[in-house]
Homo-oligomer: 665 residues x 3
Amino acid sequence: MRSWPTKTLALGGDYNPEQWPRPVWDEDIALMQRANISFVSLGIFSWSWLEPAKGEYEFEWLDTIMDKLHAAGIAVDLATATATPPPWLSAAHPEILPVDVDGHTLWPGSRQAWCPTSPVFRDYALALTRQLATRYHDHPGLAMWHVSNEYACHNLPCYCDECARHFRTWLRRRYERLDAVNDAWGTAFWSQRYTDWEQILPPRRSTTFNNPTHVLDYKRFSSDALLEHMRGERAVLVELSPGVPVTTNFMTLQHFRHLDYTQWTPTVDVVSTDHYIVDTLPHPRAELAFSGDLTRGLAGGAPWMLMEHSTSAVNWQPTNHAKAPGQTIRDAIAHVARGADTIGWFQWRQSRAGSEKFHSAVVPHAGADSARFREVEQLGRIAARLGELVGSRVEARVAILHDYQAIWAAEGPCMPSSELDALEAAQAIHRQLHDRGVTADVVHPGADLAAYAVVVVPQLYLVTDEHAAAVAAAARAGAQVLVTYFSGISDEHDHVRLGGYPGAFRDLLGVRVEEFFPLGPGETVALTAGAGTWWSEDVTALPGTEVVSRYAAGPLQGRPAVTRRSGGDGEGSAWYLSTLPEDAVLGTLVDDVLAAARVEPTVTGLPRGVEATRRSDGERSWLFLLNHANAELSVPGRGYDLVADTVVDGAVRLAPGGVAVLRED
Amino acid sequence: MRSWPTKTLALGGDYNPEQWPRPVWDEDIALMQRANISFVSLGIFSWSWLEPAKGEYEFEWLDTIMDKLHAAGIAVDLATATATPPPWLSAAHPEILPVDVDGHTLWPGSRQAWCPTSPVFRDYALALTRQLATRYHDHPGLAMWHVSNEYACHNLPCYCDECARHFRTWLRRRYERLDAVNDAWGTAFWSQRYTDWEQILPPRRSTTFNNPTHVLDYKRFSSDALLEHMRGERAVLVELSPGVPVTTNFMTLQHFRHLDYTQWTPTVDVVSTDHYIVDTLPHPRAELAFSGDLTRGLAGGAPWMLMEHSTSAVNWQPTNHAKAPGQTIRDAIAHVARGADTIGWFQWRQSRAGSEKFHSAVVPHAGADSARFREVEQLGRIAARLGELVGSRVEARVAILHDYQAIWAAEGPCMPSSELDALEAAQAIHRQLHDRGVTADVVHPGADLAAYAVVVVPQLYLVTDEHAAAVAAAARAGAQVLVTYFSGISDEHDHVRLGGYPGAFRDLLGVRVEEFFPLGPGETVALTAGAGTWWSEDVTALPGTEVVSRYAAGPLQGRPAVTRRSGGDGEGSAWYLSTLPEDAVLGTLVDDVLAAARVEPTVTGLPRGVEATRRSDGERSWLFLLNHANAELSVPGRGYDLVADTVVDGAVRLAPGGVAVLRED
Amino acid sequence: MRSWPTKTLALGGDYNPEQWPRPVWDEDIALMQRANISFVSLGIFSWSWLEPAKGEYEFEWLDTIMDKLHAAGIAVDLATATATPPPWLSAAHPEILPVDVDGHTLWPGSRQAWCPTSPVFRDYALALTRQLATRYHDHPGLAMWHVSNEYACHNLPCYCDECARHFRTWLRRRYERLDAVNDAWGTAFWSQRYTDWEQILPPRRSTTFNNPTHVLDYKRFSSDALLEHMRGERAVLVELSPGVPVTTNFMTLQHFRHLDYTQWTPTVDVVSTDHYIVDTLPHPRAELAFSGDLTRGLAGGAPWMLMEHSTSAVNWQPTNHAKAPGQTIRDAIAHVARGADTIGWFQWRQSRAGSEKFHSAVVPHAGADSARFREVEQLGRIAARLGELVGSRVEARVAILHDYQAIWAAEGPCMPSSELDALEAAQAIHRQLHDRGVTADVVHPGADLAAYAVVVVPQLYLVTDEHAAAVAAAARAGAQVLVTYFSGISDEHDHVRLGGYPGAFRDLLGVRVEEFFPLGPGETVALTAGAGTWWSEDVTALPGTEVVSRYAAGPLQGRPAVTRRSGGDGEGSAWYLSTLPEDAVLGTLVDDVLAAARVEPTVTGLPRGVEATRRSDGERSWLFLLNHANAELSVPGRGYDLVADTVVDGAVRLAPGGVAVLRED
């Protein structure tokens, strides 16, 4: 019956009509039609308006707007409205409030003030979900269910006693025996041996560093606790509203790392995500591309849904910069270039009150008579033409491994460097590929690696034997495998693999590392060419391993810095970076790896500054070009530009900030 | 009977004799006489010495020192001693302790550890006030009552349950209906709709940003809660000690913003304030002048009382710099130049123990045989001559609007920039005026603006319709109105005024802004002349509005930056600054505005680096000159210099750091 | 029977066999023998493995490893294992958990989560100590008792109600009368007068600065509370295991200042300490030397024991740098050069799990086949030769006064500068001496100063009359006394000494200071030669006091900066530094002081960059030379180099990073 993604490249966004008097609703719908909006997410923060008292429901307003939207041909992604409980609920049941690591209760007054394991909260949330599913499952305007919202954005981890109880249950399920917990956590040290399950607590604020595996398991538990919640809501929807796709919006931003989305994808019929640009990042545009490639990886390569992004400034950064003219269009298409088939904004109409009143929207405070709204209208016309590529897939021959659990472990207490971001290498290498017009899938180590010519293993600190074996198998099968420093160090319990680093990859790489020499922020070490950053190591290249470059100064002078080893009989090889070379040197290395793998850029002759990806449906292909430079640039190409609505015969000319989507001849 | 200000320019300060053995008291009084000290504030932190147990009073020591002071001709500003409760009170009633946003109890051990709404604390405080008023109302040495001390310096806001109850009462009084609260706070968003008054809590630490209007109303409530306290003490004093003026010391420092003093002025018979120089400010001297102009504004232009400042270093900054030789005199006169008729220091004799032992005092640790004490003695001689100008008023033809409630709203959560100080524009423009020898009154938007030739509206983010109308009326009446970016944005509920910024001033200014482009710290944007800082905007100048300068680079290149529009039929006009130009450019603009308003500097030919103000009593006038430069400077003038005690015939020569007060011929 | 230090220069370290399966134990012992390890500390974090439930003990594993070690000739420093209680104990008695200043409970999950005054914890700890002493007192492998571990590293101060009760008892003992507390704390200010002992609380988070003497007394109390604990354990050991030396490992690192070790030394039979290099310090090598000189001072000049240091990186700094090749040896010998006769590492075998898995160890993750282990083996061979100097003492003719209580007071709230470290001057002067090859004892002001030619009094803010008199006596007796700014300011109650700074030393120095002019970080003031940092003062040189240098700019221009005054009849003199001159100027001044005292460097002709100390036993002497420069350097000398195992005939040639220990002819 219903399906998502839709047949068209859908534009839409969060719509919160309860903020506005009813006359505005009709104006909203007329403007949506003007801008070619084809869906809205409804009811995300409406609990207190749908159920103003326990068991008393007010659906009239929702009926009305659902009907109006449907009449206007606008599909509804209907929220279960359980993201934020109403004041009456936490007033009656303060035990649902989350507690932070210091023991502070986090009070209501903003959003998502609920404990992930609270059975009371869960009962109320499922009751509301049940009501909504019963009432709206057959509403013709209903296109999808939107469960909760940005799970874990604000209420994870919780350290309350209820979570302590659930954590013990989770541990019993994972380990069965208490001795197995003691072994996994290494409680032999610091007198931490547990002799009864009831002694186990969340890793609350202690006198100094908490046990790292305890902390890691609490992150796993916390992600699972919310996943359990998601499963609960999904079960209600599947039962009462069969055939309607279900999603919840992930947050595949660089700094959001609370949930292991790999575990979550089975619970959504469409992978959807939110993305916001963080100005203070050194490479915000590359981060957007990385996020898209990661989201596509979670979706198994299938098209996905950008549930939220912003038309212009957000309101939660220190200084919130507006987007430049044209950037609203360019950013939206940047997500499509990475596999999105749906583009949503938060939110439709800019609030005049409340916490998000200075978050930009499709209809700004200035109203529809504004450059920003006109830009959305223009995008609406472009989106109509882009409809032809819906369902097509992004081409990539490079995989970058990404594992939230490995990130969690690497972010644990007492590491060699707490100043090194766990994604530093992944994003640096991704950026080099991006700059060369080479697209990478960001995938879990458990993904099928067979199709990739290059497999990048960046700071994969914790790795299971099985995943390490899969990487080795890829090299044996002919892939170029590029492993960086601080990979393969520990197993799933975060026990260090002994005998020399990088334990899990030592044989594959043919190196043995005795000791880490991490570098602080801004610190560098000279290499035979250029300099290394963030990390260095005392590497011994085993016989048969080629030394590509060496340290040229400091305590490691003369020791290998970058090595390469044949992956087996075929053409595969395993490269090892014991440091993160500065960009130019890293780029040259990436060139060498790509050459060895015979991976070509998306477009030959791509000028630096233009981002390029390709989507194809097997028959046709579409070339996405985004000019991030301040100068007009020209890219070889031939076909039909869906953005400019013109035929291209030889070269696409891109103004500064310009975008083209070329259906290639 | 008694009155304040006195007939002389009074010197004095906080006197805490309970810190010293009685023989020191006599030495103190002898030294006070040597230094021409004419008043002391007594008993500010004496509760535990006046009432060592519930209902048991020890007044003998206070009787003695009151008598001694009176015998020596030194007036007493007697504290109600309620600023800090004694240990026995909080031990018996720990429920009076304040609670911070995280839920921490703030324990006794320093000062002011009491909850602003505690009925228990209030009962005890009023009982002590009653005792003091009964005992001393007719003491001949009593000149004034000093209620509490630096209200809100340390105990605001409190988030305890008692405050929650009082907050609900306050809300009922303000809004009457719960729906009005929901409307005002915009609870339609984030599921915050309240269905019972009891659900409302203080804006305690939540999972993320609290509702901005909730936060704003809590600031209003907190200020009002202490004001209620002040009213309670005043009522006792008015009843039992009629005819004695009552004050409490405000804190008109840049960073103290807890209380809306505009609401407080009716409760004091004399506006008094404390001021301390913060070395880490970029422009500490300008901040002192701003504070004086603000205090005068609160006093309605009348002379005011500097209750506390320091002779030299304070002890609560990271590094506490001593004052330079001569600065004790110069700083004191700087306050007189802004309208003070009384000059007090904290404190008379430097403590040898306790928290303030390294806070400078009139009598330092080194004793009276010290340069610092001799400087105060010299000031005492100057003060005797300055007595002739007591009661005179400072002349100003420029008003700068200042509203604590607008500041609170601008400091709320989730703003376009959290890095922009709410007073940035006010102080930048004030500093330009100050540098030109043009004095400004810093006044509330509800003040009478009729007398001003220039009205500056700096970052007046929140503004009521009534106040916006008053500004427009000033322009129509012929004033030059200078409005800056981020003014007129929201109404009293902090609801954004729709249709284009700056909503409340859009018609007056003839501009329409679609979007903000805030700039971070240190970020600049090129203008046709110079550069803008902190902010920029997408401005459209409506027909009839003159574009004074434009953005010259970046996303707003070519758009108007500064505009001017005729204010009506007369000579008035309304200027708009959509950015904060760097000092030189801002100075030129200020020159243009002053020229249009025909406002002349206090002295023609004033060299840069000399601060100049004028006080007059209708018949005579006194010119204050303070040389902040490192070179000797000369200012045209003719008359009698009360500082140097010499006749000036043509030019005042000011040594570096020098001061003159010229009774003008 | 047993004694410590041993006859040999003992190498050893923390050994935690419970982390490893038994087969590893045998490998451990074989490797220990290879590396000439002669002692291990055992059981430090073993409580949960020794007593898995209340009163149920598991000693079999400890018996086994004790026997194995003894059989291998490796002595055991056996811990009482009470440093960290097992989970079952805090689960049964959560009242033993410490509480921080904010009121947070600090939960178990790391280490040392116990309240210093908890009687429950104490009972359990003494019971375990009793068990261990009973079982092992006559074990032939037992060489020493190791009580608890790094007292106060993580659980001090605690602010719980139990501590409040003990604090009151401590105060009653110290002051007897409540009025004496009121006087000492200066409660006359800020209404803090106590009228009942029960009103007194720990200095918990208050509304603003806590009372400084209250805070100081709480630090004294907290140190004493743990000392009481130490005494309790020691009493059990002395009773049940007579004749076995007892120690606990101090932490004489720059930033660890919780305990007044001067009070603690009577409770240990051997002074032992831990030391870790903090990379982020500006002068980490000088800090190591300072720590050694301080530890020796605590030991009264006797040899001491380095219980813990690291072979390479630690794991608790932001970026943990590995040691350079050779540095493991050099650092170990650096401690011996300062008087250590025992060298221990934390820990023997690097953990594969838990909080310290990335802390380096003797046997790293890479195993014994590693450069780091081979370096330890090499040190083992060197240590055998160094055995001949065991028991010898370090020569020093300079004393630097150091008092934890003075540091505590100087670190109190509301000081003239909170940015100035209390050890800034001590370490700067120590570094100048160190750079010149002049060794200093860092001793308590109560130490016998008779033997010293130079006595340095650096920032001795708080000083008793008795200690001030001892300093004056030293000058009278002929010593050069060098006093810096901010010394002698307050008495034992932290009451400022009136009449002009530096009160306690005013007569000795012949200066009178009226006011401090502290300088912020990076701020400087010009002197007649060079510049001063951190501090300046308004100094008057009294008649008979020589002005050595003056301020050359700023508010103090022309005022004395450095002075000197004859100490009496003899050759002694008293120098005063009212600022901290930059290194070059300070160095010249130190040269002048040393010349006046006729103190020669350890070696004539010592090149800059080489650290030199001398140990002697009255008959023989050993010269320690450590080359910290990057170039080969040569030092005059003649004898036998125990490190290189060669005869030196005229000059020791030291490679970069090289070390020599010359038995001098």
